[in-house]
Subunit: 342 residues, 4 copies
């Protein structure tokens, strides 16, 4: 239908996954692919999994700014989207997969990321209450991070339903390594990560304020949470174990029902049958989030576990879902809830 | 368009991948899903990655035999397809992902698998010389195994072009664990395989006669080859390192050109640019085979390396590719050459 | 020095690791190796990593009962140690790596495991307050499970020091697959687990009462905790993320100091320098536990993370450490705090 | 007994494994640990698996040159050992884990590595015919590479026994990622390698001339071989599938017997029982090589498969084995043939 999409940061993992999805999208053509440090390289040198891009070469970001794309995806490291976005024409639709425009509070942004705040855009998590319409009406979308998507979609229903206290939420989320990006670092070498599990940035991860913002919006009051990310030996996938102090009258059935009610009709959030718990592997390559919850009487906590593909629903899939909404296309166009297994 | 496909052995890994592909196929509806030992179970209990099959339940194979499907896929352990196939109506199109109907020579079948030969069907590797038309004209297709696909597509062009001797071919092929199936065996436990590499069935693997048959057909004379399979710690993917004794006048450019000529226009076999070697990870979830070759002057051998997804082009993808041909659909319908990475 | 040790359940993962350690122990000779379902098999068929046991054959458990071993290790599935233990002579020293004798409360045992309680033995975690002397004075030791070791050693110091409330403790512990044992199950196949993260037995895992018992002993009052185990794609290793509600006056330095004070002089528990968090990979093959903690002001929680090798300090290493104490040997004999990396 | 060993390149994977082994060696004390780019860093920041080195700090290589160590291990990238070695006193014993002094032929060295040849030292593979005595009599040892150890120990016995032709040998060897070292490269990121198998440097790998040199020495005539390395998703371990054209009269029993005769009494090379094939996982953390061979009648090839730990017998273990021989210690001191499994 004539929509051309350009991508900045197309050589990274989020950018690469987006290219794969765009290749399968019936209504979007792939325009300029920008990647500053890889500018001039064949795209298939970086993404040999995308042979249909044989012949394409990465451009630099300036070329993207000057292009006439209808839709631009920014898949840049945090701190870099702001300047690029500022140079883009008003009318073009933009989805930022990075962090720069996610936080409404400049002070929170400065604490989490340092530097100047680039401003706040519509937060692109369609399954949060009221979000879908806001996204459809926007031309600038800040697509959420992978940990916030897993954590927020797990806890939002039990907060919204008043099943847990808004303070003392806990999230321990194990993530595959692609969440850490494609830059060469010793601690991300295969030799280091393959037989390892490690906690990192305990209590200081930059995604905590984003989770708190999303959940505070749902709860109607500020929430507090501890957030512990764990690096796990798989390329893709997040499993988030979330909990909150149960309020009186909660039991397992109530928790399960709150999840089911919240996500009835959602194409990409699937509440599993009672007794079955999410598996990251079941979401590989797709845009699905799997969730399950229960009430733990011994500790008095509601526990909700979610799984997703950090590059899918946690990044590129969600960005495309938002783009579909902005373009007035069916939300699921070019996306699937099916994962690749085993 | 009204084609309904049923699947026998739908609870296995090959069957599961086929279901995923069929869910994305625009012209095929999913009919009966049979799985004897899992009959009665919800499909999503076995394949939680396929939430769109929520509500579907496995039937037994008898139900499949009695169904009115237009197309039947048999994804059964070897030795089981023959009986099921014999019970099916003449007119229905059948693709067997198993080994039962692959070998033309009953004696070879008996040596490799034991038991009685179920007969020989059209061999379903469209990229072999002359195969595409034979497949389109058949109602019974024996889809090749994963190792034979990787090995044959690597060596066929250099044999056909007369670049290597037909005897003393060698194949060392490392495979992910899903090739060994979904049955509970101690030697396939994650704890056993995750940090391991092991050779098995050295010189005795049942896929050797199938490779020899395919390559002998191409060479026009009987070939001989050594075949060593290696179990490697990844769920999916095969990397086959193949070689043959070079005939006079061969050099790297000649080898590369033979590969390019053989696969020009093929949608799913991609010859990489010189200097780039196949990666199994680049084929994950897709139907592509990546190949590259060279001439090694020191040993006097032509070396060709291929990579594919053993459940994709090595099983379900290839079966669907054949089905498309049988149905008169574009060969690539519901299939992709793109892989999921990282 | 003439101590002969026999092992029941020597074909399992815990048993196998114990054999490896015993082969390197200067004061213990390896006696009867019993393994009921593998009785008659060469030991190296099951444990090809132990070539120095070439020529040894598994016996059955009856042979072990009748042997004259000075020391017996029981590495059996839960529910099987009780009967074997009852048949052993009074004088022989016994270390049970299984769960049968860990819980003091028969009702708790019945709820967690079902069946009849085999009785309670001295709990073999030498680093808990007062435990070392009790172990040295015992002839029957119940060696703790892998999750309880990781969880208890993380939380005991902050409970003992009065830094956290005894209720509403949380543990999310990711474990390698060997913790699930060596029996053939589809959900433990390499194909299933290799790219997966999954929560299981949420709120119902049989190790929770054991953790609660150990921590209640330390706290002096009953504790309550939620416990969520996560299966992660590595053969060995546990990373436990533990937390409790901080009491007034707690800060990061206080937490760190409590850990350091608790484990000063301990050969196998290492408190990392501030800023460094435990990695499971750093403990592979050794008997070390790495711990680190902090205070998270936003949530008001103390967070302590621990890592260990579930077959080392989480099973066989700890059992041998206890045996050393029972035998009056230096506690570290035949054990190491060093891990294999990468 | 007063031997102090210093290590250059102690921050790498080979250096780190050597430190682990030296910590367990009863007759060697650890002296200066040099690591130029990590000089000044705590050793446990780089090797958190070695807590007993808490308090030690990396020095620079100049400090090592000036130290009074009795024994020096060089674990440096190729091209760097020569200069360091030239600065060391004559009397000190030196084992080079790198490639600089392995090749006798300067032209071969220049072709494989470029730059000037640093000279040729005694080749440190004790199990090759005549090598043990040469090593014991030397003060300068070039410890072999990981691929050459696996390949040479597989093929040497069948060449020495005249079972295969010396030309047209083939080796396809899959290796874990630690063989590629600890420098930060995108292609070695966990995200890239974890679900991948890839061939690289096909026909051009720098280890081929080293294998050819070792095997030509055994065969008494120049050998020719093709060598294809494959990067596999495990941190450690090599599985080498090697073959040669069988000479008349060879059968499986003859092959097996040649292996057994060659390695009878060897503490670290284990010929498996017929029917059992080597597993890389069975050698993890140890100094063992497992080998098995057969005759493949269809192709007329002898096939020998070997497995080892590339950082153990393929690097640090072998270096220490040579050091023991040089020092007149029992060859197995501080080493083990047992591996860590699973």
């Amino acid at each position: 239908m004539g929509v051309t999409a350009a991508v900045a940061g197309a050589s990274g993992y989020g950018g690469g996954e987006l290219l794969r999805l765009l290749l399968g999208h019936p209504d979007i053509e792939i325009g300029i692919l920008a990647a500053n440090t890889s500018a001039g390289l064949p795209v298939t040198d970086v993404h040999p999994n995308l042979p249909d891009l044989e012949g394409r070469v990465f451009a630099d970001t300036q070329a993207l700014v000057e292009s006439k794309a209808d839709l631009i995806f920014l898949a840049l490291p945090h701190g870099q989207s702001g300047a690029v976005a500022a140079a883009l024409p008003q009318g073009v639709r933009v989805v930022d997969l990075g962090a720069d425009h996610r936080l409404a509070d400049p002070a929170a942004w400065a604490r989490a990321y340092g530097g100047e705040h680039a401003g706040s855009w519509t937060y692109g998590m369609p399954e949060l209450p009221g979000a879908r319409a806001r996204i459809a009406a926007s031309t600038r979308i800040a697509a959420p991070g992978c940990y916030p998507t897993a954590s927020s979609l797990a806890l939002a229903p039990v907060l919204a339903a008043g099943l847990v206290e808004p303070r003392d939420l806990t999230v321990v989320a194990a993530s595959g390594t692609s969440g850490a990006g494609r830059s060469a670092k010793v601690n991300l070498l295969g030799s280091e990560v393959m037989a390892d599990l490690t906690a990192y940035k305990v209590g200081t991860h930059q995604h905590r304020p984003e989770i708190a913002q999303a959940l505070s919006g749902v709860a109607g009051v500020p929430v507090s949470l501890s957030f512990t990310p764990v690096l796990a030996p798989l390329p893709r996938g997040i499993l988030a174990t979330c909990s909150g102090r149960a309020l009186p009258g909660v039991d397992a059935e109530v928790v399960h029902e709150a999840l089911r009610a919240a996500y009835a009709g959602e194409p990409f959030v699937r509440v599993l049958r009672p007794g079955r718990w999410p598996r990251a592997a079941a979401t590989l390559g797709g845009n699905a989030v799997h969730v399950q919850g229960t009430y733990d009487a011994e500790s008095g906590r509601v526990i909700v576990v979610s799984a997703l593909d950090n590059l899918g629903k946690g990044a590129a899939g969600q960005a495309l879902q938002c783009a579909n909404l902005m373009l007035g296309l069916p939300e699921t166009t070019g996306l699937t809830a099916q994962g690749i297994a085993p």
